[in-house]
Point group: C2
């Protein structure tokens, strides 16, 4: 009979290559911390119907559960070490568990990380991951640290994941097939900007990952009277949006979450240095605005103020 | 309007007394690891209707969510450091959140631990905690390590939480009022055996916390052909069971989970030493059997073999 222990043993416990002093399968995983490093920890849940559509494949969920957490590590400039998984499932359905576990394992392996522990229980489908990363002592890039005059920049491209959410919810696909596939891929298989985050250590003054949309997340960078001007025409729009009207492109790119790009502030000098770094050239690093002393975020389209929608926030939708 | 950020800021972010180098509220919490120590990490979920009854008070849930995880730290001999919380709630109901958060905070504070990060989302009620503890390098008490001839011992008393589950489910309370209150208290406010676990470092050969019942959990200590004899009349029955028939007392104490006592093996010499330690005298440490070479767990009642029910295991109930 399929039970919790045999499922865990079969699909979720594997060799950690000596990185744990007490491996997965005991009451706790135990490990040391290399001298001169610190540990960064974050946790995030994916709940069916809230963070993913019911028809999302188990493989995509395995990847997404890992990557949305690795994205928080990326936003500190940390390197992934290991994750812990709490899987709540209506039933011990191997047609879910096998592709989920395989996709998770292969995604973590690509990130040089591994599953160090977890648990499984019965209940409405939800997936909680706690991710641990490491970084050299004192190098964490925090949310606080922006200075007036800083350039505001974003990695990669924006708006594709939000397009996938909107069109799926309305039941009407508004772009051509390749754009739609790109949009769904960005939504279902987000890619944490790990190498980009590491490259930005020592250059970015402040940083976070855009999970709820710039218009919601920017507020986390603006403390102590700081403000921001975002130039909407400078946003790095996803190619998946290219055929859409400008107004919709802007709304998706500024208020849509789910792309898991990094939003950061840095001096002009650091920005010039950063855009020469190969991984940032590959992914893209785009100036989208400036930190001001205004105490609020302002949005301009070719110099003219424009209202933008709020970003995603649980318990408001 | 009540939203996720203001709720988190109001009830879940508080002073960590300098124990984090990047505090709660950033993308990750960041901290160093004192030289000569290792970190122990565990995660566990509480799902409504599976791990707790619908009428459990928010305060009890706050305590239980922490303690069931601290119990896994205790089972390694680790000292609590901090926890991460994922709270999935149907709605941002402050009449739930305030007592939950207050009870959690005060429980953690009593344990010299604190909430270092987390997230909140909409969905069917479930609570996932990841707990981090610390212990001196190389001192973790693992599940493996039992030796033939070891004494098997349990801390505290057994069966009260299982009594509360059984009688609540059957709708018929079978004990007097003080016993019933004690049983509910053990179920709803389990007490991780932290100090006991620390005291057992260097003495126990193997250890775990009894979450699913001895008859289920003992198998985790029996690797490589080891077996066990459990003398059922020696079980440290909870006082809440005292008026029950012996047969039922035994079933509750041997197969009932939820008391979160420690189950461990040690040499006779270490056992004699352990029972002199004040915290173990206070809590109780009872010999209940012996490790054998039989490859299986055997249960004897005054020398006569007796069948025992299986312990709790998700996906089998």
């Amino acid at each position: 009979m399929t039970d919790e222990f045999s499922l865990i043993g079969k699909y979720f416990i594997y060799d950690d290559e000596g990185r744990l002093s007490v491996p997965n399968g005991d009451d706790c995983a135990v490990f040391g911390c290399p001298p001169g490093t610190e540990t960064a920890v974050t946790t995030d849940s994916l709940v069916e119907g809230v963070h993913f559509f019911r028809d999302t494949s188990p493989g995509s969920l395995g990847i997404k559960a890992a990557e949305v957490n690795l994205s928080d590590l990326a936003a500190m400039g940390a390197e992934p070490f290991c994750i812990f998984l709490s899987l709540v499932l209506p039933s011990p359905d191997e047609s879910f568990i096998i592709p989920f576990a395989e996709a998770l394992r292969s995604d973590l392996s690509r990130r040089n990380a591994f599953l160090a522990g977890g648990n499984m229980s019965r209940g409405p489908l939800s997936i909680t991951v706690t991710a641990l990363g490491r970084l050299p002592l004192g190098t964490a890039v925090r949310r606080v640290g922006a200075a007036e005059g800083d350039i505001i920049a974003a990695t990669g491209t924006l708006g594709a994941a939000a397009l996938a959410v909107e069109d799926t919810m309305s039941g009407k696909v508004t772009v051509d097939r390749p754009s739609w596939e790109e949009a769904r891929r960005r939504l279902e298989r987000p890619e944490a900007r790990i190498e980009e985050g590491i490259a930005l250590r020592g250059l970015a003054h402040s940083m976070l990952d855009i999970s709820d949309g710039i218009s919601s997340d920017i507020s986390h960078l603006l403390r102590c009277g700081l403000g921001a001007v975002i130039n909407l025409e400078q946003l790095p729009f996803s190619p998946a949006l290219s055929a859409l009207p400008e107004e919709r492109k802007i709304d998706l790119a500024v208020a849509g979450g789910g792309d898991y790009e990094l939003l950061l502030t840095m001096s002009e000098e650091s920005f010039r240095e950063a855009i020469k770094i190969p991984v940032l050239q590959r992914t893209g690093l785009t100036q989208i605005g400036r930190i001001t002393g205004s105490g609020k975020a302002e949005y301009l389209l070719r110099g003219v103020p424009r209202e933008v929608p709020d970003g995603w926030n649980h318990f408001r939708h």
